[in-house]
Subunit: 180 residues, 2 copies
Amino acid sequence: MISSDKITQFLNVTPVQFRKDLSCFGEFGKRGVGYEVRKLIGELEIILGVDNAWDIALAGAGSLGRALLRFEGFSRFNLRITYAFDTNPKVIGKVFSGVEIRDARYLRKTIEKHRIKIAIIATPPEAAQCTAEQVIKGGVKGILNFAPLVLRVPSDVYVSNVDMACELESLIFFVKQIGS
Amino acid sequence: MISSDKITQFLNVTPVQFRKDLSCFGEFGKRGVGYEVRKLIGELEIILGVDNAWDIALAGAGSLGRALLRFEGFSRFNLRITYAFDTNPKVIGKVFSGVEIRDARYLRKTIEKHRIKIAIIATPPEAAQCTAEQVIKGGVKGILNFAPLVLRVPSDVYVSNVDMACELESLIFFVKQIGS
DNA sequence: TAGATTGTTAATCGATTAACAATC
DNA sequence: TAGATTGTTAATCGATTAACAATC
């Protein structure tokens, strides 16, 4: 058993916040006692959908794309980059971390065929919007975008941006304040 | 000249939001007219601190670290990864994208000597907390953390987390809702 | 002057937190 | 029963938006 107090000692979240958030999905604890660890993990996995695996398509197999292919942290959530694409003929056909790089020409068709719903865009910024449009036509509903620009997408498609320069920039902004 | 309306057509921000946010820093537009593009860019650069360059230290020169070294998008904000570190003897001494990988043993001293204020942590998760403590002892006040864990840091140190698996997970969460 | 557009004040909304009843 | 801890209701806070005055 574990209390919300104990759990949140390892997170930047207050115990109340933790309980309030959980309450959106049901009651998982025992009053006066706490949460049964195994049961809580199980419930969270169901809420998050970790219980069934998701296949992910990667567009762009440059150095960032290949770093993503090697990244170990996806398995934790039952995620796999199953298909990877690039336009560079020198890269097409090669295998990185067990995934063969396919010709980006087949991006849309492959996504359609395998009913992929989530794509990662790790192309150069110039190619990102066009790539987004292709994967969306193929049926993708969620995009993790590493290209430093704002993608224009239909309202039923979710985009999560990872803009590393922006993140650093906002760190700098805060760090500058310390002195003053 | 450009209006807040035009500018925000390219962003996921409303014109009012744009003007409200800017108003925190001053008045940069002309009523009835809009914003002078060059002047606005200049003012924004000052607010963000893009006008002077920042040196950044990279801890961890694995595939992600090296992808970051190759990343072109930092120059846009006048950012440079100037020092990179790893513990792997096979990597130490090698040069990637013009930056020599140094022995992680000298992480703290180098940061101290060159008064580095911003560090990127791209180590394996096991090493992340320890690395954070070292860079903080060296004087770092802002950390961009790629390791999938919550770093414990003093309250005057800012941490920005890039947890790619989490981002994907929350995309999946939203995508799952669409059907229902 | 009329039209455009900014910057700001006040209203609304949503998220966080405080207080507490429920209950183990 | 007393102590612990959850889940919830109400209060607070901050951020977004609506409305509008200022002004080019």
